[in-house]
Symmetry: C2
Subunit: 357 residues, 2 copies
């Protein structure tokens, strides 16, 4: 099951409500553009490739609901801007929406445009699945020699947030090499950062890994440095929401701290990403990648469950800050695992893999 | 009000139940040694200086309840070992218990021993208060020049966990310089790491700062690196549970990650501690300071409130790890703020301040 899909019978777009996992499995229909924007903003769907696919499906939903306006370029472009503004950090959103709009506006007829948008969204989703499969194969080649050196002892991989199938349609980016290694019978164990404030690691990555039977242990975000100091981490693999062509990596807040600890302990730190997550326009990631700040209540409260109110973690009067991402400078990144292979976190090596961008 | 006190009228030892803050203010009586051991283990009381004082008061409680056994050295030493084993990382516990036992066993009469234990515990608590006051004065001298350079803009100090009055009888170690600066009218703002898994920052530091009117913002533990990259942190001050004579600093899990980020961004990283927290026997902190592992359910669940059950953060079947501390190597520490002044994190400079140890 994928986190987003188009139901052929009903002609409707549906998503897994990722806010409810792991305790409840619920799906939602994206009946309107506003539904899709809400789903992206509220993190019903999240993860850069999935946000991109959702953006593309939102264009389809917009056209499907538009009636005669589907033929009007001004309408389409206005809707596209609204969709692209839903969240600022993941570059895949703008990339996918622009890709859809380019294809749609090449048609003039309204119903041809609707079909074009539907097909483009499906193709984007399918491409991301294939990207993840390729990332898995290339990443496996990094894990195998570690497994060889450890001669039977488990390979310990640390990951932050969720760059799994829930984030990426299938397989995941950071998790694809893990699943490949697991399938090959490599003894693997994953340290899952819980990833405050929204606990994507504890809720989503642990759920995915558990369903696949991959051994894992959830830790607080504070613990990774200690584990690395004590030889308990062989490799770090994370995803990214936007990576500059110079190799700076925006990813879920806290990634930078893990990259520093990996560097300090000579542990390889890899970022797995499809080419749709590269930003070919930004040179300095720390200075120029827009970092979303979200509702402080996400930090202040743990969500309730079974209808209970949330648990307030701090005094009623204490303010909270909620920066959603940080940027790991290229100097801390060992390499990128992409659908075209592995490269170093330098402009030269990125362009070697992607001369066409 | 202090987090531990001896009630003269009832001759009983009482503590604030820090597990319940900030939403409920409750006190507990330590009527037996087992009560005291439970209070330390379950973190009813926590923080290195307070754990030390609680250990000393536990010796008093042991003797008070002992009847004729109070005169027996074997009994006293057995109880002392039980108390010292309650938690492994904070060196203050063994330090305070040993100090009490030395004084107690210099007496032979049972009731003289009880009085000696009570007086020693009170003196230890009082000394820690004075230590904190001195730390506050020395630390202020570090904040004043930053305030001068910022000419009116707030001085942003980041702290991790709670090294405040709740941890240290009064004033706190890491918070004492902050309170001193605030009293002097320096515009100060504190970034409070929530400090998973037990949220001592969000629950306790935010509560303390709020009561004193000190401006502060609670952040997730993941956020500090991003803030430092963007010039939003002027200085880090943390406490410690055990610091080697060579300058390696054991403190609440996650401290090491913040120290790495401070180093990477040229931000001063200070550790505030009374001399009771130095360990004069361990040379290599990363290798040899015992790091407590605690119940994984502390990671798996957020505590409930108002009688509600706790909130399970991850799938029922996912295991969790719970390392309570990490060690920050001396090379990442700008300096120590002690009751005798400020020194660098080197054996030479530590011994300059403490030639008598």
């Amino acid at each position: 099951m994928r986190p987003i899909w188009h139901d052929e019978v009903s002609d409707r777009v549906k998503v897994i409500d990722q806010r409810k996992l792991p305790h409840h499995f619920e799906t939602l229909e994206l009946a309107t553009v506003d539904d899709a924007i809400y789903a992206i903003k509220a993190m019903v769907v999240r993860g850069a490739p999935l946000i991109g696919a959702t953006g593309a499906y939102a264009v389809f939903v917009a056209l499907k609901n538009a009636g005669d306006a589907a033929a009007e370029d001004a309408f389409i472009r206005r809707e596209a801007e609204r969709i692209k503004a839903a969240r600022p950090t993941a570059v895949n959103l703008a990339w996918a929406v622009d890709r859809s709009i380019n294809r749609v506006t090449a048609q003039s007829d309204g119903s041809a445009r609707i079909r074009a948008a539907r097909d483009e969204a499906a193709e984007i989703a399918e491409e991301e699945v294939q990207n993840c499969q390729a990332i898995g194969r290339y990443g496996l080649a990094l894990i195998e020699p570690i497994a060889g050196r450890k001669s039977g002892a488990p390979v310990n991989i640390l990951t932050h947030c969720n760059a799994g199938s829930l984030a990426c349609i299938a397989y995941g980016t950071a998790t694809a090499p893990i699943y490949e290694a697991f399938k090959k019978g490599i003894d693997i164990h994953v340290w899952v950062d819980e990833t405050r404030p929204l606990n994507q690691g504890a809720r989503l990555t642990a759920w995915e890994l558990g369903r696949q039977g991959v051994p894992h242990t959830v830790i607080v975000d504070n613990a990774g440095g200690h584990l690395m100091q004590h030889g308990l981490v062989d490799m770090v693999i994370v995803g990214t929401d936007r990576t500059t062509y110079t190799g700076d990596v925006a990813n879920k807040i806290g990634t930078y701290l893990k990259a520093l600890a990996a560097k300090d302990n000579d542990i390889p730190f890899y970022v797995a990403l499809p080419s749709s997550t590269f930003d070919w326009t930004i040179q300095d990631g720390v200075a120029d990648i827009p970092i979303e700040t979200r509702d402080p209540d996400e930090v202040r409260y743990m969500p309730g469950f079974k209808g209970e109110p949330g648990y307030l973690l701090m005094p009623e009067t204490s303010p909270a800050g909620n920066y959603a991402f940080d940027v790991t400078p290229a100097r801390l990144v060992t390499g990128f695992i992409t659908e075209r292979g592995i490269c170093k976190a330098t402009e030269e090596d990125i362009r070697r893999l992607f001369p066409d961008r």
